[in-house]
Amino acid sequence: MTLLKVNNLSKEFGGVRAIDDLSFTINPGTIHSIIGPNGAGKTTLFNLITGVYTPTTGSVIYDDEGVTGFKPYELASRGMSRTFQNLQIFFNMTAIENVMVGAHLHLNRSFISSFFGLPSIKAGDANCRETCLELLDFVGLLEYADTDTDSMPYGALKRLEIARALATKPKILLLDEPAAGLNPAESRDIDEVIKKVASRGITVVLVEHDMKMVMEISDHILVLDYGRKLTEGTAQEVRNNPDVIAAYLGG
């Protein structure tokens, strides 16, 4: 039983192979980390899986369906969501509104009802606000609910992205460097949030540079180098692999 299967995936940017013939699978209900030195192609891989980029060759199978070349919103409706390494917050909205956009697919989007402000829209929104407040509470941001996002601290925005992604009710959540730029205390908070997400039965795919965090929470680790798979396995297996040590320390 696999949730996500990547087959011989490649992506070229004008002759540079950012991802080179990569294959791996992700099982449901696990925390799956992808690590590798800078420029190894981790974010490119995320963009390929979530439909932000189209692969040059190869395929992505999600939930037994070929989804190669699907648009991100089509994948979102199938239960795939993600966060971004460089924040992609809707800075023109408050925190709770950001999360409520995440619930977009689960709300009434009829134009006529919205235009005339029918009660069904208002009831749906009131309901959605409650659910989203719970999600803000879940990531520890309840106090910021009605704050404009442009006056929130960086660490809080990182967690806000996770809450927004959770509002889509994902089966699989891809987190691109959730701890990047955070201090150790904030990093531990994120750590806790990720564990709590996984304990809800959501499959987590994690790109992260914080090795302590990766080694501690991952069920499975995939190591990339120059767009190719260097090795994969449990934390213990990866830690002792001489190729991994060489890639990180040079040699």
Partner: protein
């Protein structure tokens, strides 16, 4: 549920009060003329603000949609003998359809490129209206019968006042709905909107069409009100004027669009006493406002009050 302190219901009530009390201060037909003109411009701006302010997409061609509505009404009533309201409806449907066709390819563009494309679209439509003179009367324009049941200017005043109130109300409804949030998300970050399930192209197209239909309906009523249409209405300057109203009043603020339309419609009339220096002062006022209130009039002033509240 009525919360008077919320900007939504409070603002709407304020607008209704202004529309109801304004006749006390309007002395003559010219004053009413300006008030009606303000309402027409404000309705277009409320629609355009959905596209520019909330959706974050620029259009330098919305004057053309006003023109299409106006000419659809003029041609269908005068040349084809259609019922005026039916002509208005046909004009709105045609304009909406045309906007839909144009929107898909055009809204793939961003920033300057989108500005150029919409500019080009507006100019093409304006050229067509100018050159198809067997139907449109060419640069001289054409005469349009009014609406028989709109007997006096006062009728028009109350009618456009109601129409403006309705469009503000509908615009606020739209903004405070999942569709409105999706639209603002498109403005905030397209890629983030996509990964949470927002089909960004669909929403951009939708709001482009909605704003075009707003413009077309105003064009039709404007033609019936003034009994005359000229191609100027579809021209580049009118398009720019509409965008300036939205930006001046404050983007992403429905009431900003109304205030912007009101001030920029009145200002040139007030400044006429300056004779030759009129345009100079007009430009200067625009420049200074944007330098000192870069978010536009209404959001900047609302911001001041917010800060005041906290003290």
């Amino acid at each position: 549920m009525m919360n008077l302190k919320s900007p939504r219901t409070g603002g709407l009530l304020a607008l209704i009060v202004v529309i109801c009390l304004l006749p006390l201060f309007l002395d003559n037909a010219f004053h009413y003329e300006i008030a009606i003109l303000i309402a027409f411009n404000a309705i277009v701006c409320v629609g355009l603000n959905l596209l520019i302010g909330y959706g974050g997409q620029i259009s330098l061609g919305h004057g053309a949609f006003v023109g299409l509505g106006a000419y659809a009404s003029a041609i269908l009533t005068m040349n084809q003998g259609w019922n005026p309201l039916l002509s208005l409806l046909a004009g709105a449907i045609f304009t909406g359809f045309l906007a839909f066709i144009i929107a898909r390819p055009i809204l793939k563009l961003k920033g300057h490129y989108l500005a150029m494309a919409t500019l080009g679209m507006g100019i093409i439509i304006s050229i067509v209206l100018n050159t198809e003179d067997q139907h449109t009367g060419g640069p001289d324009g054409m005469y349009v019968d009014g609406l028989a049941f709109m007997e006096t200017q006062m009728y028009w005043y109350w009618f456009v006042g109601a129409l403006l109130t309705f469009s503000v109300w509908a615009s606020l409804n739209l903004i405070h709905s999942p569709i409105g949030r999706a639209l603002r998300a498109v403005h905030g970050s397209e890629v983030a909107a996509e990964v949470v399930g927002v089909d960004t192209t669909r929403f951009k197209v939708m709001i482009f069409v909605v704003s075009a239909v707003f413009a077309s309906v105003v064009g039709s009523f404007g033609a019936y009100y003034s009994n005359f249409v000229t191609p100027d209405i579809a021209g580049f300057f009118h398009s720019i004027e509409l965008v300036v109203m939205v930006v001046f009043g404050g983007m992403a603020s429905t009431f900003g669009a109304v205030v912007g339309a009101a001030i920029l419609t009145i200002l040139p009339q007030v400044l006429t006493f300056l004779h030759d220096y009129e345009h100079l002062v007009f430009g200067l006022i625009l420049m200074l406002t944007m330098i000192f209130l870069p978010k536009g009039l209404v959001p900047s002033i609302a911001g001041l009050f917010k800060r005041g509240d906290k003290k």
